[in-house]
Amino acid sequence: METFFQLLFGGLQTGSVTALAALGIAIIYRTSRTTNFAQGTIGMFNAFIATFGLIHMNMTPWMAAIFGMLASFLTGVAVDLLIIRQAKKSSPIAKQIITFGIIMIFLGAAPMLFGVVPLSFPSFLPTGHASIMGAAISHNALLNIFIGVVAAGLLFLFLQYTRWGLAVRVTASNETTAKLMGVPTSHVTMGAWAVAAALGTLSALMLAPAISVNVSMMDTVQINALIAGVIGGFQTFYGPVLAAYIIGVSRNLLLFYVSSTWGEPLLFMFILLFIVLRPNGLIGKKIVKKV
């Protein structure tokens, strides 16, 4: 039973990391109509900036994290202003390819500015364990789960109950109508990219203590976040988050109880099977395309 809880909390922790990234992807999908494959890479880049603050500006990990998230806000705004906005009229495929271009730019920029050596970023809570059902869970793991849940929760409240949240939801459901109704859709889109970048950075910083800050640190997170989007459906904001936690936990269980080599491929197989059976996701609704 201890092992199970150990795995469960470990899974929830990875789930949180994935959930934040997935949430960013969902926000961009809804406001810019594109699947942002660069979510992880933008997070990685700003994790480097946070680590730079930590090492060269004597910041504490907390300050560095805030510094990194502020930087990511600016990164998101810049990406929207310089690239995404210019591609307004491009086809969905073209927009998609543009996000691939963004990946390459940041993958090139990171080693250019911060060197090729992986850097280390400490845990927010370096010591302390809690005992839950006999399993020793580090305080940092609990904090990460907490951050994931709270960030997702705050975002829901923001979307549901604020004027800006309403603007986002209106833009998400129909941009042209939103524009006609006087919603500043371009601000909404810019905000979406900024918030998504910040979520990606937070996600990267939560992961950093375990695997160091390096250019490929977010590869797995990116894949899992996209899959979470597919399973949870992009039509809602909570679907991907829920799916992220499910993926995190089931991956951990499969890796331990089934096979450490085959666990991951097996998970992907299950996911493909799931897509066959429920093509519109966990909570998806079928959309009839107008001809």
Binding site: T35, Q96, F100, G101, M104, I105, G108, V230, E264, F268
Partner: protein, 335 residues
């Protein structure tokens, strides 16, 4: 002459003959022999890019599994020839058929839902392959890599230079075959589907069948490219077959020019040739890490936003601009 170039395979064959001369040029010291290896890479990545163009350019679908399937072809052919001692041509056939079968299954599942799912599903599959390449050390050699030798068939063993020419032959052959079917009912069906799925299905085009066909073809070309890679470079490491490589190949297609045969080759030269041959040789900035990615990333965005037909039209457009200029100058003189 124009007509000959336009209406049959002469342009592909002439192109093939010209690049076949590269090893000879290196032999007499006109170009450096390291450049021949870079050009070889341009050729096998070019083959993969031509395949991806069928998917991306002609059917408007995105795959991020290109490198994974390429790696699968490479490892399989290395294993079949080196460890099992199968003849090269047989191993080539098996190393293409198996990835195509796996690819078709992945495609069948994801394409039934939506085009976008293909990108995500192939990304996941690519990740699984990458894990397998590094984990299954008994078969793949893990991180110490897997060796392969130059191809040999019909009793002839090729050298580095003749392997290069063999790669050129495969490239030219595939260019001709691709040109043929792209300009047939198959190619027209793909283009129609890309523009309007509704119109396509009203005309009797089975969307799933054609999407699957395009994806299976892209996978086949990727696997062929993988086999070419491993028997030219003679080594395969798991670190080569990353999503980054898939993105670079995709960039090659977009930058060179979608919906064309020569475009992906030009793109492969820009993405895989230019950094190695020129950028990294530049004083001072040549040593900056990440330069090649930055270059490709900026180029892909610039091309999509401002020059969506790709660099293949550059010559054409410059010529037109020049003619126009000359015309207006002439007009000025007579007036």
């Amino acid at each position: 002459m124009q007509n000959i170039l336009k209406h049959n395979y002469t342009k592909y064959i002439v192109f093939g003959i010209i690049i076949s001369l590269m090893p000879t040029l290196a032999g007499i010291g006109l170009i450096r022999s390291a450049s021949v290896i870079v050009l070889g890479a341009v050729i096998f990545y070019g083959v993969v890019a031509i395949g991806l163009n069928i998917l991306l350019g002609f059917s408007g679908l995105i795959s991020l599994g290109t490198a994974g399937f390429m790696g699968l072809g490479a490892y399989m052919s290395a294993y079949l020839t080196e460890i099992l001692g199968l003849p090269f041509l047989l191993s080539l056939a098996i190393s293409v058929v198996v990835p195509v079968i796996i690819g078709s299954l992945v495609g069948l599942v994801s394409l039934r839902v939506s085009g976008m799912y293909l990108a995500i599903a192939t990304l996941a599959v690519s990740e699984v392959f990458r894990l397998m390449f590094s984990e299954f050390t008994d078969i793949t050699g893990g991180f110490s890599g897997m060796r392969a030798s130059f191809p040999s068939f019909f009793g002839i063993s090729l050298s580095r230079d003749t392997t290069f020419i063999f790669l050129v032959v495969i490239l030219v052959l595939l260019m001709i075959l691709t040109d043929n079917f792209v300009n047939s009912s198959v190619g027209r069906a793909l283009l129609t589907m890309r523009v309007s799925e509704t119109a396509a299905s009203a005309m009797g085009i089975n969307l799933l069948k054609y999407k699957l066909m395009a994806f299976a073809l892209a996978t086949a070309y990727a696997a062929i490219g993988g086999v070419m890679y491993v028997h030219f470079i003679q080594f395969s490491f798991p670190t080569v077959w990353t999503v980054m490589l898939s993105l670079q190949i995709l960039a090659a297609v977009v930058i060179g020019g979608i919906k064309t045969i020569f475009g992906p080759i030009i793109g492969a030269f820009v993405v895989f040739g230019v950094p190695e041959l020129f950028l990294n040789r530049l004083p001072i900035i040549g040593d900056i890490p990440g330069l090649a990615f930055m270059f490709t990333g900026v180029l892909i965005i610039v091309v999509i936003l401002f020059y969506p037909n790709g660099l293949i039209y550059l010559g054409h457009d410059i010529k037109r601009l020049w003619l126009k200029n000359r015309k207006s100058q002439k007009g000025g003189e007579t007036a």
